[in-house]
């Protein structure tokens, strides 16, 4: 399943790149793109575990950039 989510306050391009690298390493993620410019994340992951993976991804984003909120 492929879905798109938006961020608020994703202020740093380097952080976006770090998030992308970290989320891509999660088990079950087929592909992920975190765009600093469009403030969006496109996540393609296993259907049955999508929600769990999404929670995990949100946690990673929080860890790298605490002020930034991923709208799930």
């Amino acid at each position: 399943m492929k879905k798109r989510f938006s961020f608020t306050n994703l202020d740093c391009a380097n952080c976006a790149a770090k998030m992308e690298a970290a989320i891509a390493k999660l088990d079950g993620v087929h592909s992920v793109s975190v765009s600093f410019f469009s403030q969006k994340m496109t996540l393609d992951a296993d259907d049955e575990r999508f929600d769990a993976i999404l929670q995990e991804a949100a946690k990673i984003c929080k860890k790298i950039e605490p002020d930034c909120v991923l709208h799930i």
Partner: protein
């Protein structure tokens, strides 16, 4: 500026004033430190706070942490003004960056402002305003002048002019009347329209274009991937170098710990790869955005990058270089006037549905008095025989003329020849052919001007027709009488002939070309307006069917590429230069903060140029 940015501006101004005061008061020792700590705290508390917070989360290569470490180090060795200035300049740079990025974001959002807000639907005799996503196909919409067409559909009533500029970059409005298709995203300019919806919102043109553009940032160019990878190693490497610089040399060389610590702190200031991490993707983002404003949709940074290397452009003929619509291109009467021959032919063809009949009637233009026509006999595959004003008129191809035993002669002009005979006497012929697009010759010339080495045309048509078009347009090569499978083979041959770094672009109308579009390095499709297949199969979509847009796309790609190269060379050049000078004590923190924030700002400004399409080459 939003409220966060305004707040930051005030903090910067306040800290700047406090910093000046601290510089002017001739204090010494502890009071001097305290004086500088006031602006330091005002400008830097959030950086310090984030540093601590991120450190507890194990982010040691965090930008804020490194900045804090560098400035605390500077304070420790007594370089108070430097410490404050670095943070001040850092915040100015960050503010500037966020404004610049916000501006680019907004201008791209404005380009893509084609999403309709409401649709006005006829339900149970009344009009209801609903979200376009809730409309289903078959529903009837009413669109007032000045409103955006919310969904794709066909006009039932009303005629108007449509502004398609947001989709195609074409400034001339398109006039529409009942029966015509309307495309979502256009603006209805003059008349009230009643439209029957043909596609639900998610399949409508607007939704597809928005999705395509949003997905474009997911496909990264090689340069972007390189920068991301580079950034991953750059920061740790510079930090390690800084640590070594602070620890090793004092053991072997002259000079105190303070001196080397100062040099290490300058290293930390330069350790953020921000200039590149922001400016390179911004350039691609801007290039894709600028192209879409001109009606060129590019599906990703990787394709923009490939376009810059275009060496060979292969065209499909029908619908790409030619209009794909048949027109009367010549009228050759034996004795009569041209207008009389055309009228005769038009009358004879007045009952036929054949495309050729249609084009003859269109060429005649005026209303036909069909009561003059009787006894219509269609001769399938050959033509038609009718009575006009009591005379027997035969209109058709060579075979028809042979059959009715009339001496005809072939035409020197390329195309489909339609002969006309009246009461057994040859009257002359019309030539019907597909017309070359107005800008096709210019398109080929523009491609050559921007350095494309070879232009090739592939066509399923006859050799003579293909060669004629190729000669008129000045193409380098033409391959005619090809079946769809042959086109793939030809493109593969041509791919082998391109140089390893050059790219081959195939341009087609997207309908029967899917295999070739995907085989080429860059598949360019014509006519996204209405053609789903084109958007699916192609890497680049030209919204207004104009081949001249290809050269523009290449120029945008080249401009973007050169901006990216300038930024990489400039940013890395300055950073390594200052790192080198800093290691030998020739550059201090003032230069270091320029190498970080200053370079970043300059690179971003440079990248913002990508948003504007390059002007015509002179």
């Amino acid at each position: 500026m939003d409220s966060r940015q305004k707040k930051m501006l005030w903090r910067i101004l306040a800290a700047g004033v406090l910093f000046l005061i601290a510089l002017l008061i001739p204090a010494q020792g502890l009071p001097r430190l305290l004086l500088f700590l006031i602006p330091y705290g005002v400008i830097g508390w959030d950086v310090l706070w984030r540093a601590v917070r991120n450190l507890t989360r194990g982010q040691i290569f965090d930008e804020h942490f490194l900045m804090s470490l560098a400035t605390v180090g500077a304070l420790a060795i007594g370089e108070y003004p430097e410490a404050v200035f670095v943070l001040l300049f850092y915040q100015v740079g960050e503010l500037f960056q966020s404004c610049a990025v916000g501006r680019s974001r907004r201008s791209i959002a404005a380009l893509m402002d084609i999403r309709p807000d409401v649709a006005r639907v006829e339900r149970n005799g009344a009009l209801e305003e609903v979200d376009p996503e809730e409309v289903s196909s078959g529903d009837i919409l009413v669109i007032k002048p000045g409103e955006r067409v919310p969904l794709d559909g066909v006009i039932l009533e009303g005629s108007s002019a449509l502004d398609t500029a947001a989709l195609t970059g074409e400034s001339l409005p398109r006039s529409v009347s009942p029966g015509a298709d309307v495309i979502s995203g256009c603006i209805n300019l003059t008349g009230l329209l009643r439209v029957q919806v043909t596609k639900p919102f998610e399949e409508s043109t607007v939704a597809r274009i928005l999705e395509l553009v949003e997905n474009a940032s997911g496909r990264k160019a090689r340069a972007e991937a390189f920068i991301t990878k580079f950034a991953r190693y750059y920061t740790p490497a510079v930090v390690v170098a800084a640590v070594l610089l602070a620890l090793i040399p004092p053991l072997f060389f002259q000079g105190g710990w303070g001196d080397w610590l100062g040099r290490a702190c300058s290293f930390l200031v330069i350790s953020c790869p921000c200039a590149l991490v922001i400016s390179v993707p911004l350039a691609f983002f801007g290039g894709i955005g600028g192209a879409s404003r001109a009606g060129i949709l590019i599906k990703g940074g990787n394709y923009l990058e490939a376009l810059a290397n275009t060496e060979t452009v292969v065209f499909d003929k029908t619908g790409t270089l030619t209009r794909g619509v048949f027109n009367v291109t010549a009228i050759h009467p034996e004795q009569e006037r041209e207008a009389d021959l055309l009228e005769l032919a038009a009358l004879a063809e007045s009952w036929s549905d054949h495309p050729i009949a249609h084009s003859i009637r269109e060429a005649y233009g005026a209303e036909l008095d069909t009561s003059r026509v009787t006894g219509v006999e269609e001769r399938s595959g050959r033509g038609v025989q009718v009575q006009v004003d009591g005379r027997t008129v035969c209109v058709g191809n060579d075979t028809l003329m042979e059959e009715i035993g009339i001496a005809w002669h072939p035409c020197h002009q390329v195309g489909t020849t339609v002969h006309v005979a009246v009461d057994g006497v040859y009257m002359g012929h019309l030539v019907i052919s597909d017309q070359v697009k107005e800008d096709a010759a210019d398109a080929i010339q523009a491609l050559r001007a921007c350095g494309v080495r070879k232009t090739v045309m592939l066509t399923g048509d006859a050799q003579a027709v293909g060669e004629d078009v190729a000669r008129r347009l000045g193409l380098d090569e033409v391959h005619a009488q090809l079946l769809p499978a042959d086109k793939v083979d030809r493109v593969e041959d041509l791919l082998r002939q391109t140089s390893p770094r050059g790219a081959l672009a195939f341009v087609g109308d997207g309908i029967n070309d899917a295999p070739v579009l995907s085989r080429a390095d860059i598949g360019i499709a014509m006519g996204a307006l209405g053609s789903d297949a084109a958007i699916e199969a192609a890497d680049v979509v030209l919204m207004d069917d104009k081949p001249s847009k290809i050269a523009l796309a290449i120029r945008i790609a080249r401009k973007t590429r050169s901006i990216v190269r300038q930024n990489i060379v400039f940013a890395l050049g300055v950073k390594f230069l200052v790192l080198g000078l800093g290691a030998f004590g020739l550059a201090n923190m003032w230069e270091a903060v320029f190498a970080d924030v200053g370079v970043s700002v300059i690179a971003i400004l440079n990248s913002m140029r990508a948003l504007h399409s390059p002007s015509e080459p002179s």
